[in-house]
Symmetry: C2
Subunit: 207 residues, 2 copies
Amino acid sequence: MAPRTQTPRRKTRGSYDPEQTRQLLLDSALELFGDQGFHGTSVQEIVERAQVTKGAFYHHFESKQDVLSLIHDEFLDVQREAIERILAEVDSPVEQLREVIRESVLTVTRYRQHVAVFFQERRYLTGRPAADVKRKRDKLDKAMDDIVIAGVEQGLFDARITPRVAVFGVVGMSAWVHQWYREDGTMSAEQVADDLANLALDGLVVR
Amino acid sequence: MAPRTQTPRRKTRGSYDPEQTRQLLLDSALELFGDQGFHGTSVQEIVERAQVTKGAFYHHFESKQDVLSLIHDEFLDVQREAIERILAEVDSPVEQLREVIRESVLTVTRYRQHVAVFFQERRYLTGRPAADVKRKRDKLDKAMDDIVIAGVEQGLFDARITPRVAVFGVVGMSAWVHQWYREDGTMSAEQVADDLANLALDGLVVR
DNA sequence: CCTAACATACCGTCCAGTCGGAATCTACGG
DNA sequence: CCGTAGATTCCGACTGGACGGTATGTTAGG
């Protein structure tokens, strides 16, 4: 095996661009974490993909976990913004839920790797970052709970179903999309989003 | 740091019970994989939990991956048996799907660790075992596809929804249960199973 | 010329898998 | 029933490599 010395990028002929380097490292880490998992990915792999060296990595980030936590944060922010926007724009619980499902599915297809990392590598977060993530997630869950509860109170949603379970069902359905959806042209994300929203709201059995 | 010598179990006063040892190792591995992930768990941890040593582990299994693949197989067999039984017992696609969802949810609650391992550590399977798992999973997916397609053809299911998406929605909803359900007495697995089956079949919106 | 932005060599640790041997079990001849 | 040879089951020290992180040197920008 040749010695571990590789030829770093040394961008546009001798010029630093720290923000680009940082983003490149984040993108590489995201891609690799999504494909191989957190423990399945070494820092060496990340820097090779970004065509820099470990020095650059540890200059921009405190640790490998640090990067994992940043990925989590980014995804949670996207989710939060989406749900806040919908709650402000739409009134009826039925249409709120429909929009939340549609938006969730679209987000999942757009941020596929984020979702994969988020739901599969969560356990490797510890300490402060783990607590932060939990807090933010609980907030999102509660927002959805409130939608369903309001719908039940207004007689719009079936009162026999436990709201908590309904929310988890909807979340699971949407999150699961990352396990199978691929943009290979045979099915648009919009189509999937509509189908799943219809499934959750109207059910599969014809009326 | 003290040397890595530990006191193995040496069961009921000097007597080998290979089958018990094997099962103990499998159980330990399942528990640890479920909690800490495949790469997050060392063989040393597995054997310590089973109160044996690495010699015993590598006597019973070829590798760490070997154990992972056995866990996958066991879960897939349980799923297959369940769906075969339902297809043989029930006729109507509606009731078939209802039973499949109910049974899936119950299986997920009973085999929580299996499910966690199955869906989060799949990528660490390679070669033959990975191909075997994929083949078996495709078979299960197809069986569910057929149920939905039959239902649509008989005019029982909403024809606007792509069957494929409906199946993935149902599977996601059920599989997701492992992320949140805990047997702490506040909600029975039966209740969850019924709620999710109702959600998928009749939807959340009142008729 | 000082500091940010890297590069590179290196360290301590951990870990999957190995190996020689010890303990135990089984089969069988006497 | 006894003895014993061979196979099975398990022990535990060990290895070679990989990996996260560090320390120190080098280069570019203000």
